[in-house]
Symmetry: C2
């Protein structure tokens, strides 16, 4: 029978990470762990879209510097964001002299990049690669919902797009290993509420986790954390409840990047954070560093993306979703 878990024989290590965020993220629970922030979310630029590109540029520059590599030593970038035509990445990364593979997986893009990068490394195709993803609250609001000036009301299930970019260098050097990955399937359960992405994405996360635990030699308990990014409060509750009904209990070790990046009640972000940058900055600033120092040993990272389009929704479409899985292990004894 075909196996869905891809076990890598040659396992890449996460050599360095770098996170760049906006002011609200800086004020949040993980504030002290981010590498860089902008007090006005503009990063010295005159549009939100350009600010997002600037975040990607700074994230990759920072991760390269930490890793000791220069751009020409990187075989390829794997990058994406939420903006139309992925301009956050295209413009942000055009000054680096290296290969470029553009991805679109909505909020799952960080996991998609880590997955493809790990497979390219695992198959001996590349030796060094970089994954960069971003999102920006203001550019996302304008594109997907309403311009900020409109002052639209948000519903309780709505998530707050994280302003942030995260970069990861994969190579042979590092204390965190990616040993297994699983490619997500597009799952569409008919959710049409643009303000409830969690409900749209939870079924995709359930599909991937069910397939993983059916095949894996490990039970959910084996993992210190099962990190979803980003289901928010609503989607996380659906995930845990529906998985429990299938006999998979992740209530003790499940965390969600959207619930980690903000103080949901104190910061008035409704159901929590979201966006390509959300899981990227949480992984880069918190999860990976905790694996690097051995506080965490085994982590499943499940990036979840709502493949939502305002055009499709206006034509009566529902919101398909996808969830890619990456298993990370600490090499520290």
């Amino acid at each position: 029978m075909k196996k869905d878990i891809i076990k890598l024989k040659r396992t890449p290590k996460i050599t360095s990470t770098y996170s760049v965020v906006g002011h609200l993220e800086k004020e949040g629970p993980l504030g002290e762990f981010f590498d860089e922030y902008s007090h006005d979310d503009k990063f010295g630029k005159d549009s939100w879209e350009k600010a997002e590109s600037e975040m990607q540029k700074r994230a990759l520059s920072g991760a390269l510097k930490k890793s000791g590599f220069i751009d020409t030593e990187i075989d390829t970038l794997l990058a994406g964001d939420l903006l139309n035509q992925c301009v956050g990445s295209n413009y942000g990364l055009s000054s680096f002299d290296t290969g470029y593979l553009g991805l679109y997986g909505a909020c799952s893009t960080c996991s998609e990049g880590l997955l493809i990068g790990s497979c390219l490394y695992g198959g001996g195709i590349v030796n060094n690669c970089a994954v960069v993803t971003s999102s920006h609250y203001c550019s996302s609001e304008r594109q997907f919902r309403f311009p900020l000036e409109y002052g639209g009301q948000r519903t309780p299930t709505a998530q707050w797009t994280t302003t942030g970019a995260g970069a990861f260098i994969l190579s042979e050097n590092g204390r965190v290993e990616i040993s297994e990955v699983m490619i997500g399937k597009v799952i569409d359960k008919g959710i049409k509420d643009i303000s409830n992405m969690g409900a749209a994405m939870a079924p995709a996360a359930i599909n991937t986790l069910k397939r993983f635990f059916l095949e894996s030699e490990h039970s959910p308990d084996f993992f210190d954390l099962i990190v979803t990014g980003d289901l928010g409060y609503e989607g996380s509750e659906i995930l845990k409840e529906l998985l429990l009904s299938e006999g998979i209990d992740i209530r003790k070790n499940h965390v969600d990047c959207g619930l980690m990046v903000f103080d949901r009640e104190g910061q008035d972000v409704h159901a929590g954070g979201s966006g390509c940058g959300c899981s990227a900055v949480v992984m880069a600033s918190d999860i990976v560093p905790n694996l690097e120092c051995g506080i965490l040993k085994n982590v499943l990272f499940l990036g979840t993306g709502a493949l939502m389009s305002p055009m499709s929704l206006s034509q009566g479409g529902s919101i398909p979703a996808v969830a890619h899985l990456v298993r990370l292990s600490s090499l520290v004894k």
Copy 2:
């Protein structure tokens, strides 16, 4: 020194292809070779975007049928299109029970998919995968330029987005082999004319071809065809002239998918075809079949993408571009 050409030890074969097009493409020079077409470009749907998704669905269904595989035997899809949030692919392929990796490379997406798919196969990560890309004249005009009803005038350098979807199955079976690939870099030479994509993309194609011939044991003459997709007339002329000034002469064996899919003068398409679907349907209906029967032996396919965004252009941005290279060889003696 780091090599940019990725030589695959385990080489995937193109097992099957399938092309779905609109009526203008059907009336063009390659009309008789396409597998399927719609006389009204709607494919039975009530919006252009849904028609594009339907093309993707039919293209993958057709390629699967020809290959003998069913969807659950495919390890992953690699798919993308020009629409915001890549909805052509997300919605078109959600009914297939297989992994899904979303890509964004504008018109280079077909080559990006073949490249990543070949690397995943080459590295032993997957055994069977499928590449699917599409574009639709009417959905592209609405999104990137003006709705059709506006009746906007086109300039002579403008390209005509191809209505079409192409699918490719890669596995161990087939008479066409992918043996080498090269990842493109984002190149931005400051072109800002939305109606001259060829000029924006040519520098990216030049960058990739120069790097390829610097490293390759073969000269341009070795290849029966060097296929770009899609520079159109303007971009093709720039490519040939600037490469010649660098001592690389591809005038005898260069063809461009944008110039093959339409009769440029007879069909009033200005500088030729473009779009994620253009190179996909030309490769699927003409180039790969000619390799399969041995009429062609060695082909370089260079997908070129203008990473253009209306939002970025309105903010004064230029048009970055990328070009990915895939080398195809006939296994027929």
